[in-house]
């Protein structure tokens, strides 16, 4: 009897459980701990698969989990007791009938078992679904709640179902607003999800002629025809197609060469330093090929001179300025089986005149490790680009972290770096600062190796695989595209700056430019690159995190043309656009502690030039009768001058900043009175404003003004008038420029002030 009751109770229980978890609406509420899942018989099979493995399930069991506080949750079935079970789990957000995938897992555990982790928010319902695609037997699982590590970076996967095309491999700006767009390509179509400032996407489709070659191996983007819109390069296994923009980026014209190219990584870069963007394509089985651009998008094919191994082996080209000469050099990650030298990595130094020197051995980068791409960045912020040579196979050695010594050589610093114990392998390695802590990280499918800033890296697992990287919500934290899923970076309190650049003398995209930021932490650098990793095309913007520092002293862009732009004190947590040669040179300005003194008195001059002057040149006319004091010189920022002889002096300052010297000096007249028989003068207060002025210049004085004259910088008198009613002088007749205003008071005191007419 007892037995029967027990059995009955068991049956009832079983029935209850099996009914309870059959559908979303009857999902069984679960909490943390080890639980047993009944055989999978649920009648509601989810339509949206969050885990890989595709559709085909015929039954699914539903569970609902609502955490009481924020947790990092792990669901695992990876237990020995589950041997023989091959299960799959989907985790959804939302409500029944309106579910959206959060995460899923198929084989994250051993032998077909699954492990999935996600960040769960207090009070939110999470639907956890196991389906029967492989086996329908019951099993044990554990739901583990871990407190969230506030420093851990998380990504939220978001499905954008409207992304269509065979090749969803590019994220870069298409419409010239420097916001990263999602570019998806099919043989006869280019689809753009244009990022709007509001955070939404506007979809455009541009029909193209049937692409002779598809971007089956890689894609690169850049403005070849210099119309302000990016063009596309498709690298296929048998040739290369260019899609050149027309009609303001609303149409694309195909150019496909007859040449056989077994494309691998492709890039856009100004190879011959003529200011026009060129294209480079790694050739798998022959010497590399490139296309030189005449500036209108007319491309001429070349083969030879940039990695000429007869059997190729070229997989991951990346253009990086390794020797800080502002010219992009070519590193090639190489791979080849058999007894061959085609797998030895190459570095080609850009001589700046269209020729390159093979420095593979000289640099110490001639490594046989089988690699398809390598991640370049300045991992230790010493101002020199380092490289993580990422292994695709362990056959000829594993990953190598190579430190740029700054003298043209690299040292192997893998030991103890974390890459020595990282056993994952991939064809894809890229470097960005994902957590904005000011140290460049390495991303490879399923992992970000976070740079700890002390020569070590810590690998953290993520569900995203390799994809195009860019900032798809303009929040300063880099996101990752995986097909129709955007992994939006959830960010953290760290500060950042994004720099968008436009070349004028240099190529339009500023590709090859070195971007530097300076602040209390020291220096960080980036190169503008088109084509990193193996296959994908990512953002052309330079992205920096600065940790919790809250200001940046200056941003420097060193263009491939040799031009340089310096911007001081940029706003943080914002995007700064820099056009080549647009950053202003210094405008000289200073104040004097007095302009009328007695013989043998000293005047202290205070520099007020803007922006960010770093050199000063003071002159005094006449050149005698005075001397610098207090240890200051003509090059001091704030000099002091002792005037020995009576007379009138003109003190001038030429200031220089990172962008150049002030075009015109700033000058002030100093009157030095003889102390013999003359009463000491008091410094009058005369103010002239506004300065710069538009049409009217106002003069405010305690004293009665008898005469006002406008002088050129050469002292030539130009005009004279004074509307005494409102103490203003009309400037409407004056051309824009810099002038002196000479004011003579009723008691014949002279005041000379410099002003700018706008």
């Amino acid at each position: 009897m007892k037995n029967t009751l027990l059995t009955l109770a068991f049956i009832m229980l079983f029935k209850l459980i099996s009914v309870a978890q059959q559908t979303c609406n009857t999902a069984l509420v679960i909490t943390a701990g080890i639980n047993t899942i009944a055989p999978i018989t649920g009648t509601e099979v989810p339509t949206q698969m969050c885990a890989t493995g595709g559709s085909g399930a015929t039954a699914a069991n539903w569970y609902k989990y609502t955490p009481s506080q924020n947790y990092s949750v792990t669901i695992t079935t990876d237990f020995v007791v589950n041997a023989g079970v091959d299960n799959r789990v989907h985790v959804y957000l939302g409500s029944c009938g309106f579910l959206a995938c959060l995460v899923g897992d198929d084989d994250g555990g051993t032998n077909g078992l699954c492990v999935v982790s996600f960040n769960a928010q207090a009070g939110t319902d999470y639907y956890i679904v196991f389906d029967d695609i492989y086996t329908s037997a019951g099993f044990q699982y554990e739901l583990i709640e871990n407190s969230i590590n506030p420093s851990q970076l998380t990504f939220t996967p978001t499905t954008i179902s409207t992304i269509r095309g065979n090749y969803k491999i590019a994220v870069a700006d298409m419409n010239g607003d420097y916001l990263d767009d999602i570019v998806s390509v099919s043989d006869t179509n280019i689809q753009v999800h244009q990022q709007d400032i509001s955070g939404t996407f506007t979809i455009s489709n541009y029909t193209t002629t049937d692409a002779q070659y598809s971007p089956s191996w890689s894609m690169a983007m850049g403005d070849l025809n210099e119309d302000g819109y990016n063009d596309l390069l498709y690298g296929s296994g048998s040739g290369v197609t260019f899609m050149l923009s027309a009609n303001g980026g609303t149409a694309f014209n195909q150019v496909s060469g007859p040449e056989y190219v077994f494309s691998q990584r492709s890039n856009m870069v100004d190879i011959n330093n003529d200011g026009h963007l060129d294209a480079f394509v790694c050739h798998d089985v022959e010497p590399n090929v490139y296309y030189l651009n005449d500036g209108t998008g007319n491309l001429t094919f070349y083969q030879g001179g940039l990695g000429d191994h007869p059997n190729g082996g070229n997989y991951g080209s990346i253009w990086v300025d390794y020797n800080n000469d502002n010219l992009p050099d070519l590193f090639i990650a190489k791979c080849r089986g058999g007894s061959s030298t085609a797998n030895i990595n190459e570095m080609h130094r850009n001589n700046g005149n269209g020729t390159f020197t093979d420095v593979s051995v000289l640099t110490g980068l001639a490594d046989p490790v089988q690699t398809w791409s390598s991640a370049w960045n300045d991992f230790d912020n010493d101002g020199w680009m380092d490289v993580l040579v990422g292994a695709s196979s362990s056959a000829n050695g594993m990953h190598k972290l190579m430190h740029n010594n700054g003298d043209g050589t690299f040292s192997n610093i893998t030991a103890g770096s974390g890459f020595d114990s990282y056993s994952g392998m991939s064809t894809e390695y890229v470097s960005y600062d994902f957590n904005n802590d000011g140290f460049a990280d390495v991303f490879t499918p399923g992992y970000i190796l976070f740079n700890n800033g002390n020569g070590t890296f810590t690998a953290e697992t993520y569900s995203m695989l390799m994809g195009a990287v860019g900032d798809l919500n303009n929040d300063g934290f880099l996101d990752i595209q995986n097909g129709n899923t955007i992994y939006f970076n959830d960010g953290n309190p760290n500060n950042w700056i994004t720099l968008t650049v436009k070349g004028t003398t240099s190529n339009n995209n500023g590709i090859g430019a070195r971007v530097e930021i300076y602040g209390a932490w020291g220096k960080q650098i980036r190169d503008i690159r088109a084509g990193v990793g193996f296959r994908y095309m990512g953002t052309l913007n330079a992205h920096f995190g600065i940790g919790l520092f809250n200001s940046i002293d200056s941003v420097v862009v060193k263009w491939p043309s040799g031009n340089k732009d310096v911007i001081c004190n940029p706003s943080i947590n914002s995007v700064l656009h820099i056009e080549e040669n647009s950053a202003p040179v210094a405008t000289a300005f200073f104040t004097a502690s007095a302009t009328m003194i007695n013989q043998a008195d000293t005047i202290d001059f205070t520099d007020n030039s803007i922006p960010c002057p770093n050199e000063w040149n003071w002159t005094v006319n006449p050149t005698s009768g005075w001397n610098f004091t207090s240890g200051t010189t003509a090059m001091s920022e704030n000099p002091s001058i002792l005037f020995n002889d009576a007379g009138t002096y003109v003190v001038s300052l030429t200031a220089t900043n990172g962008n150049g010297s002030s075009l015109i000096p700033f000058s002030t007249a100093i009157t030095v009175q003889s102390t013999v028989g003359i009463a000491e003068l008091t410094q009058e207060a005369i103010k002239v404003f506004p300065n710069p002025a538009a049409d009217l210049l106002y003069i405010k004085s305690d004293q009665t003004i008898s005469e006002v004259r406008i002088l050129s910088l050469l002292g030539e008198e130009l005009a004279s008038s004074l509307k005494r009613t409102n103490n203003s002088i009309s400037l409407t007749h004056l051309p824009s420029g810099v002038y002196f205003l000479k004011i003579i008071t009723q008691d014949n005191q002279i005041n000379i002030t410099r002003f700018v007419k706008q």
Partner: protein, 367 residues
């Protein structure tokens, strides 16, 4: 039987003659057959090959498009053939008169003498719209004293001549395969593409002409013979074969085990790159027939190097082809995913089914 013996005797005599020659001038290449106008014998002059036109070799007699072998040109066919978008193939070997190839190992290319030519014609039947047979190309490998060279001849539209091409090209094709319309853009390989598969330690080599692939019958004009024995009888192969040759089989032969069929299929379709000293030997699998006795070399329970898709967790996942990277690769037509890397743009449904059946038939790593 008598005929066979007489051939062997002739071969032996020739061999002795050749040995004598060799002693006099060991470095010398065999002199080509003198070419005089009207001479219809095969001519492979090592100083001037590759010729501009295929006809210059005189590999074929009569109407050239029929590929009727000339004297000394011997047809053969490996037990399992490479799938190249359903192209049909005819293969021939020609060895300079009086010379022989020698057996090296079951799984090694027969060591043919300098001067040997291997000829392989690629053609389609039922090519639309005219529903005709169309020869695309004839690939020739010739062994010079410095090693094997490639020479690819593209057939003219009128199918009367084929001309040397080293750069490769594309041909759009529509045809009917067993009644089903098919189309492809057929890739005629460049010289460098030939080398991707046809190499060992970066040096050019033939692939199919191994004892393991030829110890089976082929129907010659004179009758059905074991191909290796036929080679011996024709005097192009030294008669020193071991009694047993560990052999591949025709993967279509459903009387054979799934494993043997798959191993034969993988050898001919994949083994040239996935074996020691080859293009892709940095990957963990080894798919040459002699290596796949070990299930680890087949990729069973082997984690792929690349985290590509977490579901594709093994190269071969016993019992589940949807979790097997090899199945994914064979079922893909994307250039960057498909395997083999070259030679096909269409899925080989028969090969894929074989792999699916094999994976479904096993449940353990060691099966």
């Amino acid at each position: 039987m008598k005929k066979v013996i007489s051939f062997s005797v002739l071969g032996l005599l020739l061999l002795m003659f050749l040995d004598a020659c060799k002693k006099d001038s060991p470095e010398e290449e065999p002199s080509p057959v003198p070419t005089t106008p009207g001479n219809e014998t095969v001519t492979v002059n090592l100083d001037s090959v590759p010729y501009t036109n295929l006809s210059q070799y005189r590999f074929f007699t009569g109407d050239m498009k029929n590929n009727t072998p000339n004297d000394g040109v011997i047809q053969y066919r490996p037990a399992s053939e490479l799938f190249t978008d359903y192209a049909h193939k005819k293969r021939f070997v020609w060895v300079p008169a009086g010379m022989k190839g020698t057996y090296v190992a079951d799984n090694k290319i027969i060591n043919f003498p300098v001067g040997t030519a291997l000829i392989k014609t690629f053609y389609y039947d039922n090519v639309q719209p005219a529903n005709v047979t169309k020869i695309i190309e004839t690939r020739v490998m010739i062994r010079k004293s410095t090693g094997w060279i490639f020479a690819d001849y593209i057939w003219s539209e009128d199918q009367t001549e084929a001309t040397l091409s080293v750069n490769g090209s594309l041909v759009s094709l529509d045809w009917e395969e067993a009644g089903t319309p098919k189309s492809t853009v057929y890739r005629i390989p460049s010289e460098t593409e030939c080398l991707i598969c046809h190499k060992s330690n970066s040096l050019p080599i033939p692939i199919g002409i191994k004892p393991q692939n030829l110890d089976n019958d082929f129907t010659y004009p004179s009758g059905k013979f074991n191909q290796l024995q036929y080679f011996i009888s024709k005097g192009i192969l030294e008669n020193n074969l071991p009694p047993n040759i560990v052999s591949t089989i025709d993967y279509h032969d459903t009387t054979q085990t799934l494993k043997l069929r798959l191993r034969s299929y993988l050898d001919t379709n994949c083994g040239h790159c996935h074996q020691e000293n080859s293009h892709c030997d940095y990957r963990p699998i080894r798919l040459a027939f002699s290596e796949t006795t070990d299930p680890v070399n087949l990729g069973q329970c082997v984690t792929p190097d690349d985290l590509f898709d977490p579901t594709l967790s093994n190269v071969i996942f016993p019992g589940n082809y949807n979790k097997s990277m090899m199945y994914f690769r064979l079922s893909s037509t994307d250039e960057n995913n498909r395997m083999p890397l070259l030679g096909r743009t269409i899925v080989d449904e028969a090969g894929l089914k074989l792999l699916r059946d094999y994976i479904s038939s096993i449940s353990n790593c060691t099966d």
